[in-house]
Every structure is written in C-alpha cells, then in structure tokens.
C-alpha cells in the first residue's frame, strides 16, 4: 500500500493516427502539488482530462487510491472524487452560486438540503466569496467566477483537485486572487494537479513539476531543481523562452 493517490500506468491516447499521450507513468502523492507545464499541443490538458474520465484512454490504466478506475473499455464512475476546475469556469448560468454548489452534494452525495448549504457556505468562506452566495454567475467577475468554480469542486469533498489552466481566461489583475486561493488550498494539504503557465505560482507552490512535449513526459523534477537546473534540452529551451 503506497501513499499515492493517483497512479497512471502506461497510459496512451490516440486521436486517430495522432498520438496525444504515449506511455505516461505518473504517481501523485497525497497532499502534494503537481504542476504540469509545456508548450501548447503537448498533451497537458489531455493528460488531466483522462484522469477525470472526460477523455477515454486507449491503453494502460489509471488508479485512484490504488483502485483501478479507468482502463481501456472499463470506466468506473468517480462520483466527484476527482474535482476539476476549467479554463472557462463552466458554472451553471441558470442557477445561483449556492445552487451551483449544492447541486452535486444533493444528488451525488445525497446530502440533506441544510447540510449541503452549510458546507457550501463553509467552502465559500474558504474562497472569500460568502457574500455573493445568492448571485447568478453572470453578475460576477471572471476571477470571482473561477473562485466559485473552485468552491464547487471542493463541495464534492474531492480527493484530488485538477486545474486546467485556471487563470488563462482571466484579466491580469484577477489572476492573483485565484492564485491566492489555490495557494492557500495547497498549504492546507489539498492534493492538486495543475496545468498552468503561471511559472511564479509553480515555483512557489509546486512540490513536483512535470515537463511535457508531444505527448511524452520529458522531465520530472522538484520545483527548485526544475527552474535552477533543468535536465532536459527541451525544458531548457522552454524556460529560456518564457522567463
């Protein structure tokens, strides 16, 4: 029994002839923060979408808490165990913030209404949005919406939170409020996997950084080593370009 929470074994994924992921092996420890970076089209998003079963895999297996949840032709529902925050927020526009947060709790976790509301208010406090609980998503700014999206996935008591470029659709001044929330989540011991271009955040918070290109993991390193002393040629080039 290991303390890994997500384990990917020889995972491959094709779009027709195109190899989106090839032989990915990955191990995410409980309470750690993993940042995935790489140029666009390198398969970062595909990688975390396979963890969440939004994309089917063509080979290999994915384990959550040492239980096989996903392999070719076999999918066990995750029931919200793996939370996800999208680039485009994807809040439900016809529901208030509170309804967004309680929907999954009521249906999937079968919580009582009052209990669901209480927990939702608790997570809203965590993302400093408790005063907006009655509003509709279109009345909020981008950064606020993204914080609500984070709270929504927290409401499902997830084992892992996945972030798919959470700050890419935001105005520069709103990026910070979202990153602050993510940072405080990381400090409180939430397991997180982030695809992000925010290198400052990665440097600060990540325990481990993965560099991907063309569907392969080229480098796996601690945050400190990755920025000061990158091993692979491609990651050196990448860092030179963006820093």
């Amino acid at each position: 029994m290991s303390d890994s929470i997500i384990r990917m074994k020889n995972v491959s994924k094709f779009y027709g002839e195109f190899k989106a992921l090839s032989n990915i092996n990955l191990d995410v420890k409980k309470g750690s923060v993993l940042v995935i970076c790489g140029p666009s089209g390198s398969g970062k998003s595909t990688l975390i979408r396979t963890i969440n079963q939004l994309e089917q895999i063509d080979d290999g297996a994915i384990f959550v808490n040492d239980m096989e949840f996903c392999s070719k032709g076999k999918i066990i529902p995750l029931n919200g165990k793996v939370g996800m925050v999208f680039q485009q927020f994807n809040l439900f526009p016809h529901m208030t913030v509170l309804e967004n947060l309680t929907l999954g709790q009521k249906i999937v976790l079968k919580q009582k209404k009052q209990k669901a509301i209480d927990f939702a208010m608790q997570t809203l406090t965590q993302v400093q949005m408790e005063q907006h609980s009655h509003k509709y998503p279109d009345q909020l700014s981008g950064g606020q919406q993204q914080r609500i999206a984070i709270a929504r996935s927290l409401c499902m008591r997830p084992e892992v939170l996945l972030f798919d470029e959470p700050t890419s659709a935001l105005d520069p001044e709103m990026v910070k409020e979202v990153l602050d929330v993510m940072e405080s989540l990381a400090r409180s011991g939430t397991t997180m996997i982030c695809v992000t271009h925010e290198m400052g955040f990665a440097k600060h918070v990540a325990d481990k950084i993965i560099f991907m290109d063309k569907g392969e993991i080229l480098e796996e390193n601690t945050a400190e080593n990755f920025f000061s002393n990158p091993q692979h040629k491609r990651s050196k080039e990448f860092l030179e370009k963006i820093l």
């Binding site: 919200g80 485009q88 509170l98 929907l103 999954g104 509301i117 996935s153």
Partner: protein
C-alpha cells in the same frame, strides 16, 4: 437584469421564494393593457362608421344574440383544438428531438425520417388525408384486426376534431423537433463536462443542466410556433370542424354580410393571438421562463376542462370542483418548487379568466 440586493446568507431560499422581479411589476402590464384597449377602441370606431354590426350585436335582437353566441362557441372550439394540438405537438417534438440526438443509429434515423416527411407535406394536404383517406385505408384492413377493441375505438373517434388534432400535431411536431434539437445542441459542451466532473449521471445532467439552458434558447421560436398552430386551426374548417372560421363562413352564407363578419373574424384572431404573443413576450423577458410557460399551459388546459364541463354538464358544482382542483395543484407545485412564483400563476390565470369572463358575459346577453 435582476437587481442585486444584499441578503443575509441564511435566508437565501426565503428571498428567492418571495422574490422581487421587476419584470413582473404591474405597471408595464397596465400600460400594455391600456394600449390594447385604445387600439381596440380606435379599430372599432374606424370600422363602425361604414359597417353595420347589428347582425351580431347581442342587444339588437333575438336573432343577433343567437348569432353572436354561435360565433363565440367557435372561439372555444378553436382554443380547444389549439391546446390539444400544442400539447401533443410539444410532446412529439420533444420525443423526436431526443431521438434525433441519440447515438443510436436506428432512433436518430427514425427522428430524421419523421421530420423529413411531416415538414414537407403541407398541413392542408395532411388534414385532407387524415380525414378522408385514413378511414378508407383502415377499412382495407382484415376483419380480424378491425374487430379488436383498439381499432373499434379508433374508428369511433375519427371525428373532425380528432383528425385535426392528429394532423396539426404531427405537422407542428416536426417543427418542434427541429426547434428543440437546435436548443439542446446550443448548450455549451463545457456545461456537460462540468456536470460530469461533479459525478452526475447523463440523465441528471440533461434534467438539471442542459434542458433548463436549452429551454431559454427555444422560448422565442416555440412561442412563434404556438402562434402558427393557433392560426393553422382555421384550416380545420375545411374538414367540417365547427371552429371559428367555419362558423363565420356559415353565418356569412346565411346573412350575406362578408364585410362585417370577416372583420369580426380577423379581430377575434387578433385578440386571441395578441394575448398569446404578449404572454410570450413576458415569458421571454422574465428570468422565471419555465414557470410562466408551465403555468400558462396548465391554466389553458384547466380552462379547456372548464369549458367542456360548461358545454356538457353546465353544472356549477363541477366548475367549482375544477376551480378547487386548480388551486390545489398550484399549491402542491409551489410547495415543492417555491421558485415558480405564485405571482405567475395568479397573473396568467387572471388574464385567461378575464378573457373567459368577458366572453361569457357577452354570450349571456349582458
């Protein structure tokens, strides 16, 4: 947009339940009502200077009173036919829209075949076929099939009303199929993905996330289709259904007053459809679209029952029972869905009842 107010957090549900939607304020409705009234008055003054409506004025003579009663009963037949057709067409449209979107090849081809056939056949041709040709083709069936209770029932119920409802709902259903399909497809893919990551099943995603948003997009075309259906009911006069248009033409044949009678017919449709499109406009503007539409369809159905009880039994007891039944159902709905404002039910029921009352008063000879 709804104005945002700062509530205490623990009273959110209460606030939503009692709610305050400026769209539902009485003032704009009053304004529109006054506008309608003036439009109607000016139309009447314009027309009455060169026309003589005495043949349908209830106070003129016994004969004219029976004439106007004869015509107003046609309004109920038109309403009845449109409500049944709308009801079945929406159901057909919804079912076939789901079929068309299904990944199952057989189901999706059934959906597209239905749309292709019934969108192409003109409604008039379909009406004629259902009323005149369908019974003959059913006669050709072997005796053993004809003797089954289901077939006997079908033979018995092939009345003009049944044939018109069948043809109208098949025709309109094909348009609804396309409307609903495009509405469901217009919901962003990310919404479904978000639902999936919350662990909701496909069915739950459809019910809680996709359909409410799709509904918002289909309100406008659906209302237009409703109006089209009500207008198309006039074609049913050609298969001897005694609705508004047929009654007017028959009276015209007796009295030779086409100018007054056909003007009256046009005004009747104007009032009927003006109300419908006005409600449609309110539904479109409101945040609580589903509730208003549901409550208006519901109220219309109840009104239909009400009307039928009036024509068949003419008993106040039955009318009272139906009224109590209506109130009870509204209470039950509000108990479980507090977001469907009481105001909507009151407002929609109010409009229909006013129309109904006015027609009744006129029909009873003031």
């Amino acid at each position: 947009m709804q104005k945002v107010q700062t509530h205490k957090n623990n009273s959110i549900y209460k606030k939503v339940a009692t709610g305050n939607n400026p769209r539902l304020d009485l003032l704009p409705k009053l304004k529109a009502g006054i506008l309608y009234f003036f439009m109607f008055c000016s139309l009447m003054t314009l027309t009455s200077c060169s026309m003589n409506f005495s043949i349908i004025e209830p106070w003129a003579s016994e004969e004219s009173k029976s004439n106007i009663l004869f015509l107003l009963k046609g309004v109920f037949v038109t309403l009845e036919l449109s409500i049944y057709s709308i009801f079945f067409a929406v159901i057909l449209g919804f079912i076939f829209a789901i079929f068309r979107l299904s990944h199952n090849k057989i189901l999706s081809s059934i959906g597209s075949i239905y749309v292709t056939i019934f969108r192409i056949i003109p409604l008039f041709v379909l009406l004629l076929w259902v009323y005149y040709a369908l019974p003959i083709s059913l006669q050709e069936l072997p005796e053993s099939v004809k003797d089954t209770p289901i077939m006997k029932f079908i033979f018995k119920s092939l009345t003009p009303l049944f044939a018109s409802v069948l043809a109208l709902s098949l025709n309109a259903g094909s348009f609804f199929t396309e409307i609903f399909r495009s509405g469901i497809q217009s919901v962003a893919k990310g919404q479904m993905e978000a639902g999936k990551t919350l662990g909701l099943s496909k069915f739950r995603i459809m019910i809680h996330i996709v359909l409410p948003q799709a509904f918002k997009n289909v309100v406008a075309p659906t209302i237009s289709q409703f109006i089209t259906i009500v207008k198309d009911t006039s074609m049913a006069s050609m298969i001897t259904l005694f609705e508004l248009t047929r009654r007017v033409s028959q009276l015209q044949a007796q009295t030779f007053r086409p100018l007054e009678l056909y003007t009256f017919l046009a005004v009747e449709y104007l009032v009927l459809l003006g109300t419908l499109s006005y409600i449609g406009r309110q539904v479109e503007l409101s945040r609580y679209k589903i509730s208003i539409l549901l409550s208006s369809i519901f109220s219309l159905l109840i009104l239909c029952c009400y009307n039928m009880s009036l024509t068949t039994m003419n008993s106040y007891a039955i009318q009272a029972i139906i009224a109590i039944f209506y109130v009870l159902i509204v209470m039950i709905i509000l108990r479980y869905k507090p977001k469907l404002h009481l105001a909507n039910f009151v407002y929609v029921g109010f409009i229909y009842n006013i129309i109904y009352l006015v027609i009744n008063i006129i029909a009873c000879g003031l």
